[in-house]
Symmetry: C2
Subunit: 340 residues, 2 copies
Amino acid sequence: MNDTFLKACRGEKTDYTPVWFMRQAGRYLPEYQAVRGKVSFLELCKNPELCTEVTLQPIDIFGFDAAILFSDILIAMEAMGLTLEFHEGRGPVFPDPVRSQAAVDALIIPDPEETMPFVMETIKLLRKELKVPLIGFSGAPFTLATYLIEGGSSKVFLETKRMAFQAPELYHNLLDKITRCTSLYLQAQARAGAQALQIFDSWAGIWAPGDFERFALPYVQSIITDLRKMTDIPIIYFANNGSTLIDHSKNAGADVLGLDWRLNIGDAVDRVGDHAVQGNLDPIALFLPPDELEKRIKQLLVDASSAKGHIFNLGHGILPQTSPDQAKIAVDAVHRFSRK
Amino acid sequence: MNDTFLKACRGEKTDYTPVWFMRQAGRYLPEYQAVRGKVSFLELCKNPELCTEVTLQPIDIFGFDAAILFSDILIAMEAMGLTLEFHEGRGPVFPDPVRSQAAVDALIIPDPEETMPFVMETIKLLRKELKVPLIGFSGAPFTLATYLIEGGSSKVFLETKRMAFQAPELYHNLLDKITRCTSLYLQAQARAGAQALQIFDSWAGIWAPGDFERFALPYVQSIITDLRKMTDIPIIYFANNGSTLIDHSKNAGADVLGLDWRLNIGDAVDRVGDHAVQGNLDPIALFLPPDELEKRIKQLLVDASSAKGHIFNLGHGILPQTSPDQAKIAVDAVHRFSRK
């Protein structure tokens, strides 16, 4: 068992810097495409054997130091009783946006084992196969809420902010329900065998700091407080486009803060020194010529060297257009340059 | 002549905090919609009488302390010899993206007076009518380049970064040509009578700090250096989603730094204290109930009170869905609360 990732999360000494990439099981891999070609995205998410297969692919190919459960943050929202559709080229769609108290009242708090057994099954299958730690995950309540309120993706999140600003009680009731669902979901993942948990706050960066503190952070804190009562596995909080929010997100209660690429990781370490950090290479840096890519990785490792713990990662998900060869170069460079 | 805005730009004492809103002449105004209903967007941009009319509308209605020329940042790119189309709901499109040295070579450096006479004519008409200062503007070279390289708007700007990373010389040649065009264009606006100039770097926030320094900032610096040789009117640099970049963007050479809403304006002032600042209310804060909107504006004015100069503005353009009544409440609140 390679526990380098877990050690880095806990701020313990490691022989080298562990590395994994967000969306490492994904469309840039021909091996993934081959599986995905046979089923729809939602079918894939609900098939434990196939989820296990695609989760393992990048571990075998690249030697990542952690695996992350293949799933989607919106699976748990479907389990709350909503219709979820994935449209090619348009992303997720909730045909019935949640914008009223009646719609909030209609949401159920699902028993995760009962409504998402395929997730727990995938975790169990993976734990039998894996020689590296398995990360479970969920969306953060605010990010999940945006999809429900907007009815899908958004550019400016007008409906979400409008609800927060004009109907704060309704907003809170919705967020509170999503929070309870997410909390149970992550606890179930930990029980099933997840060895770390990451909370993805993909849209955190749309908030002014004061609004983030009011409308997003408390729900993450609530989930982490719940989790701490039942498990001590590392918890990672990733507030995307959140480089301006880290003075606040460091108070989420997580062990590790995920960082996008908009901030020098050394500056981040200076500000959140008592946390391990995860990140933060620009995903498109994987398109640099190999020698420049390696140079950039070397510098990033130097910049992060005073961190309590550092897990190398991209600042966001790896892009479908990325060459697997370049991913391999990056993973190898992290391992080579960081070895003492 | 109300020169409060110009004084604040220069860091001189003012009786109150001047205010204008990005996109203040725009779709949220029924008066604008009435004009726009008669012509296409590009026709409007090229009609000095109609441009003058829509530019004046928000000044008359709300009492803003500055007017900004009604135009579009891509007008100057069309003048470089490219086909520009605006598609309803999709935004600007360049059917022939610029991705080769041949395509760069084909771009012309237009004489602004000759190719965009309607802009200079609009400025002259406006100066006859206005009792507040007139701001001219352009896009920043990097932001303009993204539209040319991507062929329109983008989400992750893969093609742009790919060119910068894989073909830096080609990228530089393109940026250099856009820079020369933009520099001449802004100089022509100043000659025609613009009393301040704003450079919009709408997509600056996609860069890691080091890449921003290499691939975006130098071109802005070059333009401002050129401008300083011929005029001392205030120059505003607005790097959108650039709250993580202000330690760099403060070196652009501008008098005023525009700020989006992702950073407390007081924290920004601490970091760029020798500049005046412009911003930075979340545009969606205009959807707050009036009393909360006023409270937020009051706090923002307090937070900005140690600034060398403060021009109140939104952190991005006013949204089409905004109620003009709320805009009026905001403008009045800025004036009332800031008066000594």
